[in-house]
Assembly symmetry: C6
Homo-oligomer: 301 residues x 6
C-alpha cells in the first residue's frame, strides 16, 4: 500500500457495504486498488456456511443440510447463522437436547420475519426459472457471438450487479471495438429477452429485460450516430446539433435493433438444447463458472 515499504509483505484488506461513499482517493492504484464484491452465497456456499455453524452443535439425524441449503435461497451468511442459533434456542426452550428438523423449520420463519423487508421477498420457482433462462440466454449468446469473451460467472443469485441474476464476462483485452463486436454485444444483451420469448412464449416475456433494452438502445444509437457504422445513414453525427435525433435516425435504430433481435432469437432456437442445459444446471447450482459453461456448451453437441 502506497506510503508503506513495498517489501513489508503486508496485505491490507478493508470491508464496507457503502462503497459509493468512500473517498475516491482511497481507491487509487497503490491504495485499495482491488475490489472484491461479497454477494449472497449460492447453494454450495450456503452448504459450507451451514456446516460451519452446525459443526459444534448437536444436530438430529433428520436434519438434511443439503435440503436446508437448497431452501435458503437469498439467505445471507448472517441469516444462516441466525437460523441455527434460533433453532438451538427453541430446542433449549423445549427442553430438547438435539436440534431437530422441527426446530429448524420454526426458526426459519422467525428469521424471515425478523429480516429487513428487502431481504424477505422469496424468489418463486417461476422467478428462478425465468431468471435461469434469461441468464442462460446471455451466456449462450456470449459463447456463440463473442467467443473471445471469458465468462467468469453466471448466476441467478441477485447482487448489486443485477436484480435477477447476472452474467459476468470479461471481453478480450483490446483497444477498439469493431462493427461486428458491437453488433455481437447488442445480440448478447438481447439474449436474455430472446430466451424468455423462445422458452415461455411472447406473452410471457418479462420486465426483467428493461436494463438490457436500455443498454442495447444506447449501443445501436452510438453504432449509427457516433461510430458511423450504418451503411445507409453513413458518417454524419448529430451530436453537434441542438437536437440529437431525427426521424430517419430513430427509424433506423428501430429497424436495426429489431433485425438483431430476430437473429438472436434464431441463434438461440438453433441451440435450444444448450440453452435448456445451461438453465437447468443454473436452477440446480444457482451459479456457474467458465468451466461449467464450456462443459455444457461442448457436451451439448
Amino acid at each position: 500500500m502506497s506510503g508503506f515499504n513495498e517489501n513489508d509483505g503486508i496485505l491490507v484488506i478493508g470491508a464496507t457495504n457503502r462503497l459509493d461513499t468512500l473517498d475516491e482517493a482511497l481507491l487509487r492504484p497503490g491504495r485499495f486498488d482491488r475490489q472484491v464484491e461479497i454477494g449472497l452465497p449460492d447453494i454450495n456456499a450456503r452448504k459450507h456456511i451451514l456446516s460451519l455453524y452446525t459443526r459444534s452443535k448437536p444436530i438430529a439425524d433428520d436434519v438434511d443440510i443439503d435440503a436446508l441449503a437448497k431452501s435458503t435461497v437469498y439467505f445471507s451468511g448472517a441469516m444462516l447463522e441466525n437460523l441455527i442459533n434460533e433453532a438451538a434456542i427453541l430446542t433449549a426452550n423445549n427442553n430438547k437436547s438435539i436440534i431437530d428438523q422441527e426446530s429448524i423449520d420454526k426458526a426459519f420463519y422467525t428469521v424471515i420475519a425478523g429480516a429487513p423487508k428487502e431481504d424477505r421477498s422469496y424468489i418463486t420457482e417461476k422467478d428462478k426459472e425465468i431468471t435461469a433462462y434469461h441468464e442462460a440466454g446471455h451466456a449462450l449468446m456470449t459463447k456463440l457471438v463473442l467467443p473471445n469473451h471469458y465468462i467468469s460467472k453466471v448466476t441467478i443469485i441477485p447482487s448489486v450487479r443485477g436484480a435477477g441474476g447476472f452474467n459476468l464476462s470479461i471481453p478480450k483485452d483490446t483497444q477498439f471495438q469493431n462493427k461486428s463486436d458491437i453488433l455481437a454485444n447488442i445480440m448478447m444483451f438481447l439474449g436474455g429477452r430472446a430466451a424468455e420469448d423462445l422458452i415461455f412464449g411472447m406473452d410471457n416475456i418479462t420486465t426483467g429485460a428493461s436494463n438490457d433494452i436500455q443498454k442495447a438502445s444506447t449501443m445501436i444509437y452510438e453504432y449509427i450516430n457516433k461510430f458511423g457504422m450504418d451503411n445507409d445513414l453513413g458518417l454524419f453525427s448529430m451530436e453537434i446539433l441542438e437536437h440529437n435525433s431525427d426521424s430517419k435516425l430513430i427509424s433506423k435504430c428501430r429497424s436495426e435493433i429489431n433485425k438483431l433481435y430476430k437473429e438472436t432469437y434464431d441463434l438461440l432456437l438453433e441451440n435450444k438444447n444448450i440453452l435448456i442445459n445451461i438453465a437447468n444446471e443454473l436452477l440446480d447450482k444457482e451459479s456457474l463458472n467458465s468451466d461449467d459453461i464450456a462443459r455444457i456448451f461442448n457436451s451439448s453437441y
Copy 2:
C-alpha cells in the same frame, strides 16, 4: 422496536394524521415498520360505534341504530360521538328524559354544519351508485384477468387511497411482471371506466377515471418504450434521446390502450350480472372483502 430488548414483548403503537411529515428514519424496519390506515368507518363499523356511544344512554324505541348507521355515510367516529352527544343535550334542553328520533334528526344537522368544510359534502345516491359500479369494475377485472391477485378490500368509502372508493388488491409475490400481466393490469385499471360506460352509457362516463387513465397511459408507454413488448415497434427505447416520443410511438400507445379498453368492456359485458351483484352488495355494505368478492363471483355463474 430497534434499541429495545427483542424479548420484551412490548408492541409500540403510534398514531398520526400527518404521516408525510414524519422523519423517514422512524419508519425504517425495526422501528415503526407497519402502517395501518384508519379510514372512515363503513356502515358496519358505524353501527358498532353508534352502539358503543348509545350503550349507557336512554334511547327511545323509535331510534333505529341500523337506519342511523346507513344515513351517516362519510361520518368519522368523532362525528358519530358528537351526534349522540348533541342529541343528549337537545333532549336535556327540552326537558325530555329519553333521546328520541327527533332529537337525533336535529343533532344530525348541527353536527354536519359544525364539521369542517371538506367533511361536509354528502355523497349522493347517484355518486354512491357510480362509485359502486366503478369499483366493481376494477374488482371484477381483477378476478377475470389477474386471478392471482388477492383482493383484500373493495370499498366505496373514500380514503387517502382514493377519493371515490378504492380496490386494495395484492399481486402474487413475484420478481417480474410479464407481458400478459402488464396488459391485464392495464385492463384492470380501465375496468372502472368501462363499468361506468356499460351501466350508465357513454354520455355518463365521469371524471372519476382520470387517475386510472394516467396510470394506464404510463403503463402502455412503458410497455412499448421501456419494456419493448410491442410486436410492431419492437425493442428500441427512446428514453436515451432528448425527446422521449415520436408520432409512431404516440399513435401506437393510443391504438393499444383503446384496443385494451374494448376488450375490457367486452369482458365486463359478458359478466354483467356479476358486475351488478358486486355493485349492489357494495351499495348495501359499502365495503367488501376477499371472501365477499369470491362468493359473489362464484355464485353468479
Copy 3:
C-alpha cells in the same frame, strides 16, 4: 370562532379589501370560514343608499332619487355619500337652503374627477347592452343545459369575479362530473360569446369572452386528454410525455369546441326571446337572482 366558547352566541365579522394578503390560517374552518364579497351596489342598492344619505337633508322636489340611482352606475357607497355631501356644500356656498338638481349635477362631476382612476371609467350604454346579453347568454345556457345548477346571481355590475359582469351559479353537489356535464359546462362558457354573435352579429363579437375561451379551451383539452372522453382519440393521456400535445389532439380540440359553439348558438337562437327578456331585465335592474331568471324563463314560453 375557534378558541372561544361555542355557546357564546357571538359572531365575529371582519372586513378587508386585501383578502389575498391575509394569513391563510385566519380563514380555516372554525375561524373566519365564511367570506362575503361586498361588490358595487346595483341600481336598487344605490336607491337605498341615496335615500339613507338624503334622509336628514333638505332636498328639492326636482331631485329624482330614482333617476340619480340610475345614473350612478359603478358608484360605490362612499362615492354616493360624497355626492350628496358635495351637493350640500355647493348649496351652502351658493347660499341656497335646499339641495337642488343643479347642485347635484355639479357635485356629480366633482366626485367623478376626484375618484381614483380605475373607478372613473363610465360604462357606456353600449357596454351595458353587450354585458347584459353576454351574461344573459351564460344564464340562459345554464338553464338550458345545466338545469341542476342553482343560479344565485346574474349581474352586469363588475366585481372581482368579472370585469364586465358575472354569473354566479352553484352546481348540484356531486363528486364526479360526467361527460355530458363537461360538454354542458363548455356550452355554458361559450354562451356569452354566442349571445353576442346572435344579437350583435359576428363583426361585433368582443374581447369580453377571452376568459370564457381560456376556460372552455382548458376543459375541452382535459375532456379529451385527461378524462379520455373523446370517442376518436380514446384513452391515452399525453400528460406523461415531454410534449403535452400533438397535431391530432390540437385538431380534435379545435373541431370539438367549434362543434359545441355551433350547438350553443343554435340553442340560443331557438330561445332568442328568453335571451332578450333576460338581457332587458338585466339592463333595467342590473342584477337578477334565481327567482328572476326562473320567472323570465318560464314566462317566456
Copy 4:
C-alpha cells in the same frame, strides 16, 4: 395632493427626465397622477421660444426668425437659447453691436457640435417626407376605420412615443373591443407602411414600420388565438399548451394580416389626395391637432 388639505388650492408640479426611475408610489392617484410629456418644440413653438430669447437683444433686420425656426428642427428649448447666446458672444467678440444673420449661422454650427451625440442627427428632407407620409397614413386610417377615436396629435417631431414621429389618438372610452375594432386597429397600425408603399413605391418602404408590424402581429395572433374571432380556426386557444402555435395558426396569422394590409392599401389609394394633404401640412407645420386633421379630411372631399 394626498396628505395636503384638499381645499388649499395648491397645484404641485414636478419635472423629471427619468420618469422610469421614480418610485411608482409617487405616481398613484392623489399624488402626481397626471403626466405631461414635454417633447421637442415644433416649428411654431420654436418661433415662440426664439422670440422670447431675442426680445431683449439687438437683432439685425436680416435675421428671419421664421426661417430660423424652420431650420432648427429637433432643437430643444435649451439649444435655441444657446444659439442666441452664442450669436451674441460672437457679435461682441467681433465688436459688432447688432446680432446679424452671419453670427447666427456661425453660432448654429457651434451649438450643433456641442450637443450630445444623440441630439446631433439632422433629420433630412427625405426623412421628414417619409415620416410625414407614414404618420399621415396612420392618421388617415384612424379617420377612415376608427371614426370614434379622437386624434389629439399627429407630429413628425420625435419623442419617447416614437422615433420618427407619432400619432396620439384616444379611443372612445369603452370596456370591450369588438372584432371590427381590432381589425380596424390593425389596419390603423398598417397604415404607416401602406402610405409609404403607396407614395414612394414598394422598393422604398422603410424599417420605420417595425414597431407597427410587431403590434399588428401581436393583435392578429390574439384576435385568432385568444379572442377566438377567426371563422376558420374558431375558439380553441393554444395558450394552455406547451407550444403556443402550430402551422395552421401561423399560416392563418400570415394570411389575415396580409389581407388587412391589402385593404389598408386600397383604402389609402381611394383617399390618396387626403393623404397627400395631411402629409403636406405635416411637413409645413410639423404637428397637427384634431381640428387640423378634421379640416383637411373634410375639405378634401
Copy 5:
C-alpha cells in the same frame, strides 16, 4: 472636457489598448467622446517610420527603405524600431561602422522570433491577394449599389475591425433604411465572397466570409420577419411566438439570400476590370481612401 472651463483650449488625449475595460462613463459626450483607432501601419506609414528611425544612423547605400517597408507587412511601429536597433547592435558586434542590408536581414529574423506569437504569422502573398479581392468586392459593391455611402478606408491591414482587412464606409445620415437599402447592404456584405468566387473560382472561396454571411443572414431574416418586406410572406412577425422561425421562413431566407448573391456576382462580373484595378492598387498600397476608390472607379470606365 466636461468639468473643465470650455474656453481653456486644451485638448485631452488618452491612449489605451484595452478600450473594452474602460468605465463607459469616461466615454460619454463631453468627456473622451472621440475614439481614434491606431492600427498597424500600412506600407506608406512604415516607410515614414523607418525613415524616422534611420535618420540619425549610418545606413549603407544598399539598404532600400522602400523595399524594407514592403517586406515588413504587419510590423508595428515598435517592431520597426526594434529592427533598426538590432541591426545597429549586429553592426557594432561585427565591428562594422555602417548598417548594411545583411545586418538588417539578420535583425529581421531576430525581431520576428522575439515578437509575441500572434504578431508572428506572416501574411502570404496568396492571403494578401485573397484579402485584396475580398475587400475590393465590398468596396466595389458599395460604389455600385450604395452610391450614397462614403467609403472612408479600404485596407488589407488587419485591425480590431477585421481579421483580414476591412472596409470602413459611412452611410448617408438618415433615420430609416428602406427596402432597397437593406437589399443593397446585403449585396455589399456578399460582395467579398462573390469577388473571391469570381476571381479565384468556386473551389477557392474561403472562410474569410463567415462574418459577412452571419450579418447578411441576420439582415435577410429581419428584412422578411421584422420589417415585413418580403412580397410572399408579408407582414406577420414570428418574434412574438415561442419559436421564431418555421420552414416557410427559413426557405424564404435561403432563396432570397441566394438570389441576392447571384445578383452580386453578376454585378461584379460586369465590373470585373474595376474590381481588378481596386485589388491591384490595394496590393500595392495596402490602404485606399475615398478618393482612391473614386479615381479607380471613374477611370475604369
Copy 6:
C-alpha cells in the same frame, strides 16, 4: 524569460504532467512560451533507454536488447529503469552474478503488475495493426489531398494527442481556409476509417474513428451552414435562429460527408500499396517522421 535580462543566455525549462493546472499567465509569450510534450518512448527510444540502464550492469549474452525494446511497447522510461533494477535484484536473490533472460522475464511481470492500471493494458498485435493502418490512412490522405501540410510525426504510440496513435501535421501558414482545403481536411479525417474499411473490411471497422467522425461532422456542418460553401443550400446561416438545423441541412450534411467518404476510400484504394508500406513501417518503427513518409510515398510509385 520576461523579467530577466534578455542577454543572460539562460534558458529556463520546467516540467509538469499537469499542464492543464498551470496559471495561464505562466505560458504567455516571453515566459514559458514553448511546450514540448514528452510522450512514451517508441521502439528506438526504448532501445537507447535500455542501453543506458544496462550499460554498467553485467548482462548475459542471451539477453537481446533489441527484442526487449520490441516487447516493451507502452513502457515509460521509469518502467524500463524499474525492469532492469528488478532483474538485478532477482539475480542477486538467486545468487547469480549475471542478469540473464530468465530474470528479465520475471522482472517484466513484476513491473507490469506494479504499474498503475492505466499503463497496464497491453496493446495487442491486432490493435497495433489497426492503429497502424488507421494512422497510415490519415497520413496518406494528408500527402494526397493536403500536399502543403508538413507531416511532422505519425505514430502508433498513444499520447495525450490520441488514444490509439496520432498524426501531427502542420498546415501551411495561411490566414484563410478555402473550400477545397476544408473538403480535403474532412477527407484527411475520414482517412483513418476508410483505411480500416479498405484493409480489414466493413465488418471490422472500429470505434477508433469516433473523434474523427465528430470533427468531420462539425466541419461539414460549418462548411454548409457557417461558411455557405454548399452550392445547393447557399448562404443562409441558421446560427441566428433558435433551432440551428432543419431537415434539409441535416440531409445535406449526411449526403456530403458520405460522398467525401466514398472519394476518400477510392483514393486510398488507388494508393493501396503506399498505404500498406506506411502501415508496415509504422508497425516496425512505431513512429515515422516527415522524411519517412516522403520516402515511402515516393518509392511506392
